[in-house]
Symmetry: C2
Subunit: 334 residues, 2 copies
DNA sequence: GCAGCAATTGTTATCGGTATCTTGATACCG
DNA sequence: CGGTATCAAGATACCGATAACAATTGCTGC
């Protein structure tokens, strides 16, 4: 029992020393064999690997991490507060996560998922890099994690004071594309529904405004904090009550757009004959909505993969530049 | 530069030995002070903690993990293949993750997110426990992770051969509740739309069938593999073409239900006068749908928290029992 | 026959913490 | 005043891997 060779560690497996003894070699040879190092004889390697499989040997990651000073782990910090706000409860952040995860896994890294609140949970420091998600990544959060001195990439909209790498879809372009669409349709009185206090939404609004300004058109901003169908309906009803005329609606999210359409129809006006509507995100339901919703599509999966690639580059000591992903307007019936 | 006291580790911080030297004490005293151990003098503790703050000292988690043989990490393994299937691209798994994360963080644990495919990425072994998500958690996956000998909890439907702890919502009850609802409405020819090869869906179907059998009613199964609006429409059209009569539809997901409703209306039949429809998941959009959709709600957040609590219990060496979460039928206009 | 080199394997130190066992100092007690 | 209890802090070993350097062997070439 107390014989050294028979000792087992917490997870019930053998230690590398045990395996070495079984194979009649030294630890380092085992280490090399398992790492496919060219420094060991091919036969020895085979033999040791077979032995490892046979005994179901598992490398102790903690020990390896300590020695190598790398955890092969990237911490992803998400906004996850359960509010009616645009948060993790959308399906999209998950797709983003999927992209991140896919790319990191392929590179042999793992994802440490953390919420902003719980991010104090020490483990984050052990990560080799950081990805910060969540709406536009509030500056205070960015600053907080900056102090960890880790390679960091942020999903959001680039802001003036950025020292770190920001990746996001081109929200300004998104706004502009919709504006040009409206102009092409001859619309004159467009409305923007959304909450521009989120950097990403702010960019969409600005792109929208600027592209409309070319034709001397000034959109009306209907500020709505919730990204829900109800909120969209409410916005349109409110316009109607205030007797404000409009012939086009750009909602900064598909649910808002759906609500806006429904309310517009309720008021007896036609979509798209009287009012054009464009949403944002092109959620799966958009195509199935009645009428099928036009929407701006951003490629979340690709965004996640890009985020991952950037951190990996930074971790490897290579430079990484901020980048915006293209978006595309999917024109359907509205 | 080569002075010992000035050495810094990878992340640029001080080592505990450095801090000890600065404070004029030994490493172990620093360790105790930072760990709020009663074995150090209160003054010394204060002094050391202040010093640590001042120098922005960060504990090396890897070293600690190695020594303590615990990582305070739980691996969450999700199904994330990008298919049209019911997968991580639903918003719900994320809520589940939210619940898990919240509970684990509160207990000082972190979440290591992994996909099934990438789960070979060694890091999983370093976890103290395992949570397996994904549709009903295929048995082969379960078996694979079982070999890691870690405390493991699975989200899904309990199956006969389970040696591990399974937590899930009570799908059988979900099916039964809908059946009773239809019975109360006097429906005689119900249809079930979905893919019963997923254990969870299988349970819903069985609950549905059994509860209907009480009244001698036998539902029709419309097997559909995709959980989309289109798929739901297709199912109803197919029923119509085959001239199969029906007066109630239980779709095992809200999107299917929405599609079914739309197709039913297209065929000139009324919902709910001619046909009752109930969906599953009660997604946010269900209430805003026209007509507002009746649906079975499961509490994902709570589910996640429960999963977390179970693994934590197992990790602490306490027993944990399988558990089913109640579901509730939200009756709206359909 | 021996320097020189390549191919293998081993020895020792080290990553940065924490558990265990000891030691030193002070207080308390009869 | 000797002996013990109590508190504070240190010395040492150790967790399980890998890097750097050293050592062994066999073979080549002159």
């Amino acid at each position: 029992m107390s014989k050294k060779g028979a000792r087992r560690h917490a997870s019930g497996g053998l230690t590398m020393a045990d395996l070495a003894q079984l194979a009649g070699v030294s630890k380092i040879t085992v280490s090399r064999a398992l790492g496919n190092s060219p420094l060991v004889n091919a036969q020895t390697r085979e033999r040791i690997q077979a032995l490892a499989r046979e005994h179901d040997y598992k490398l102790n990651i903690s020990a390896r991490n300590l020695r190598l000073r790398r955890s092969h782990t990237v911490a992803v910090i998400v906004e996850m507060k359960p509010s009616t706000d645009r948060t993790m409860f959308d399906p999209y952040p998950l797709v983003l996560l999927g992209g991140i995860s896919q790319e990191l896994t392929a590179a042999g890294y793992s994802v440490l998922l953390t919420t902003r609140q719980g991010a104090s949970a020490a483990a984050v420091q052990a990560a080799d890099g950081l990805i910060l998600l969540g709406q536009g990544a509030h500056q205070d959060a960015v600053r907080r994690f900056d102090k960890l001195n880790l390679p960091m990439v942020v999903w959001g909209a680039p802001s003036a004071s950025d020292t770190h790498v920001v990746v996001g879809s081109d929200n300004r372009l998104g706004g502009a594309v919709v504006a040009r669409h409206f102009i092409a349709l001859g619309r004159r009185r467009p409305v923007f529904i959304g909450n521009p206090s989120h950097p990403e939404i702010f960019e969409r609004l600005n792109g929208f405004i600027d592209a409309l300004a070319v034709r001397g058109i000034k959109p009306l901003l209907m500020r709505r904090d919730e990204f829900t169908v109800d909120s969209g309906m409410d916005a349109v009803r409110s316009l109607h009550q205030r007797k404000v005329g409009f012939d086009a609606i750009f909602a900064c999210n598909d649910l808002l757009a759906m609500g806006a359409i429904r309310a517009t129809l309720d008021l007896g006006r036609s979509v798209p004959a009287d009012v054009s509507v464009v949403g944002y995100d092109d959620m799966p339901l958009a195509a199935s909505f009645l009428p099928p919703l036009s929407s701006v599509r951003q490629d979340w999966q690709e965004g996640g993969m890009l985020l991952a690639r950037k951190v990996l580059a930074l971790i490897e000591g290579e430079p990484a530049k901020p980048e915006s992903l293209p978006v595309s307007l999917i024109v359907r019936a509205t």
